[in-house]
């Protein structure tokens, strides 16, 4: 049996994408509650990121009456109201109830309209959870992109918009790409615009937030012919390899960038000399798959700093998701140092 930790709802995942698109109105076709609890979550997270204005989300407010007689007409009305607000784009997310009673949400969305209307199928009971909704929404939105002449540049695909350090991770990737002299073409979907999504095809490389976004990377490779790297850089060694891979894809010699970054890493590790030879133990969230993957990076750091990892040591965090790049490790080591009072 699934636990509340496991999966979440496809609706939440899709909403985390569509609410990032500027001037996009999101309609949730279902009971008001489906919109409310998802919206509350978004609102809280947006507030914590100092976004003053909550994203425009409408609910069709389906009640028993629509369940019995069908909800397609009220959805048409909601789309009409959304279009009246003059957005660039309307996204329609469906819910369990709409799917159970068989509302043809796709057909309603295909009715010609002044602004594009995108249907993202997100009936939670069909399974898949948050991640599936995230992927589905990105794939649905990518239909606005077309093949065009590529210039050496990078799209960032599938950033986790609800992650606390999303901007820190982004800045770190930009810093590393700048070492290579490669610009970011489009962030898909943090702070994206419809025009930006239309320009996706100009990039010559997609960098996925993490390997869970591979279905989106594969889809964009098929549709736009853009190859991908399947993760933001993680770990010290991993960050150097990231520069090499990105350079190879972009036909840029990465050796200068790698040398510069390696020097920076050495210097950075040097500033944590007081941590040397401390006795620590890794504390992770009690989720098995993370532990193994994050501990690889943990042991890498332990080796660098000659830490003794064993029971009874000072507990130091190995967060999930693991912080991105060299800067991420610097932030992490600051936390470790505090934990060790070093």
């Amino acid at each position: 049996m699934a636990t509340p930790n496991d999966d979440g709802c496809t609706l939440t995942g899709a909403l985390s994408v569509t609410t990032e698109v500027a001037r996009c109105v999101t309609i949730i076709h279902g009971p008001a509650g489906c919109a409310h609890h998802n919206f509350s979550l978004l609102h809280a997270l947006h507030a914590s990121r100092d976004f003053a204005v909550p994203p425009p989300v409408l609910s069709t407010d389906m009640t028993e009456k629509e369940v019995i007689f069908g909800g397609e007409q009220m959805l048409e009305e909601a789309i009409f109201r959304a279009v009246e607000k003059g957005p660039d784009l309307v996204c329609v997310l469906s819910t369990c109830v709409a799917a159970v009673i068989g509302d043809d949400v796709g057909a309603v969305c295909r009715v010609p309209s002044l602004v594009p209307v995108v249907h993202v199928p997100t009936a939670g009971f069909l399974g898949g959870g948050f991640l599936a909704g995230h992927i589905q929404a990105l794939i649905s939105l990518s239909r606005f992109a077309g093949r065009c002449e590529q210039v050496p540049s990078v799209n960032l695909i599938g950033e986790k918009t609800l992650e606390y350090e999303v901007e820190e991770h982004y800045r770190e990737v930009v810093r590393l790409l700048t070492l290579l002299g490669a610009p970011v073409n489009v962030r898909f979907v943090c702070g994206a615009t419809l025009d930006g999504i239309r320009r996706l095809g100009r990039a010559s490389l997609n960098i996925l937030r993490d390997p869970s976004m591979r279905p989106v990377g594969d889809h964009l490779y098929r549709e736009l012919g853009i190859p991908y790297i399947d993760s933001f850089p993680l770990g010290l060694e991993g960050t150097l390899r990231f520069l090499e891979r990105a350079g190879r894809h972009l036909s840029i010699d990465p050796s200068a960038a790698v040398a510069a970054e390696e020097a920076l890493q050495k210097e950075m590790i040097g500033t944590f000399a007081p941590l040397r030879r401390k006795r620590v133990t890794f504390s992770t969230a009690p989720k098995a798959p993370t532990t193994e993957y994050a501990s690889r990076f943990g042991y890498e750091l332990a080796e660098m700093l000659e830490l003794e990892v064993r029971e009874g040591g000072k507990p130091v965090p190995l967060p999930d998701p693991f912080p991105v790049g060299t800067s991420g490790i610097r932030r992490l080591l600051h936390r470790w140092r505090r934990k060790c009072h070093a």
């Binding site: 028993e64 009456k65 629509e66 369940v67 019995i68 007689f69 069908g70 009673i101 068989g102």
Partner: protein
């Protein structure tokens, strides 16, 4: 108060049987309430001189709210004082008719409409979802009568409904049982014997054999029940007999549905 539900394959004659049964029961001096539980809404038509009465769901749709509904809005008096209600439902192909049945029952409960000497629920062909099993749930019909002919597809549907009855009757406090099988004949050879044997095999009995008679068609064309249209006909007598038997029936069973092979072999055995 006696609450009975008629189930069976679509087109088998549930509404005709229900309407004639209600008419015959009312002639016994009983206060009868017939509730059509089918979006097709034609269960009570012959009791209402061919009139399609407004359905509960129509009224909900028009008013947007069921709070203003009254008994007078949803209950209509037909032949010999039989009170008629139609649940109604969505247009074909949209929405959820099953939820419509559930909503109708809740509204009827709230209005206190489910009071009579006999309540007859006439339910859509197959028990396709939980909504159409509503009349079998606790507090509603305690006796289900299966309407079937001797045709295999009709027996197959009846057998399927047995699955629903046996599932529901296994719940604690459930009082839903099978009251018997009504054979609405199609004039097949040895049909009465076949249906009687089917009824026996599922652990019940055939409570009435209704022969095929042209008068049923004539009555329908005249928008009346047989009991009203041809009160002295043999067919009317059959419906009155059914009404008496149902009122006297004490045999209530938890049916045991047949395996499909068993059912086919049974029908095959009567095919020569």
């Amino acid at each position: 108060m006696k609450q009975i539900a008629l189930y069976g394959k679509g087109g088998i004659g549930k509404s005709t049987t229900s309407a004639n049964l209600s008419a015959a029961l009312s002639e016994q001096g009983l206060d009868v309430l017939q509730i059509g539980c089918d979006p097709k809404r034609d269960s009570t038509r012959m009791l209402m001189k061919g009139r399609l009465i407004p359905t509960v769901m129509d009224l909900v749709r028009e008013r947007g709210d069921d709070r203003s509904l009254t008994l007078e809005d949803v209950v209509f008096r037909g032949y010999h004082g039989v009170r008629c209600v139609e649940a109604g439902g969505p247009e074909p192909g949209v929405g959820c008719a099953g939820r419509g049945i559930i909503a109708t029952f809740q509204i009827l409960e709230r209005l206190g409409a489910l009071r009579a000497d006999v309540v007859v629920y006439d339910v859509l062909g197959d028990v396709v979802c939980g909504g159409f099993a509503m009349p079998m749930r606790e507090g509603y019909a305690e006796e289900v009568y299966l309407v079937t002919s001797g045709e295999l597809m009709s027996l197959y549907a009846a057998n399927n409904i047995c699955k629903a009855i046996s599932r529901l009757s296994s719940r604690a406090r459930s009082r839903c049982r099978l009251g018997g099988v009504i054979c609405n004949a199609k004039n097949l050879p040895r049909e009465e014997d076949l249906v009687a044997e089917f009824a026996g095999r599922i652990g019940s009995s055939m409570i009435q054999f209704i022969p095929r008679d042209q008068v049923v068609q004539s009555a329908e064309l005249n928008k009346k029940t047989v009991v009203e249209f041809a009160p002295s006909s043999d067919q009317a007598a059959v419906y009155r007999q059914l009404a008496r038997k149902i009122m006297e029936n004490r045999r209530l069973d938890v049916p045991v549905p047949l395996e499909i092979e068993e059912l086919e072999a049974l029908a095959y055995g009567y095919s020569e």
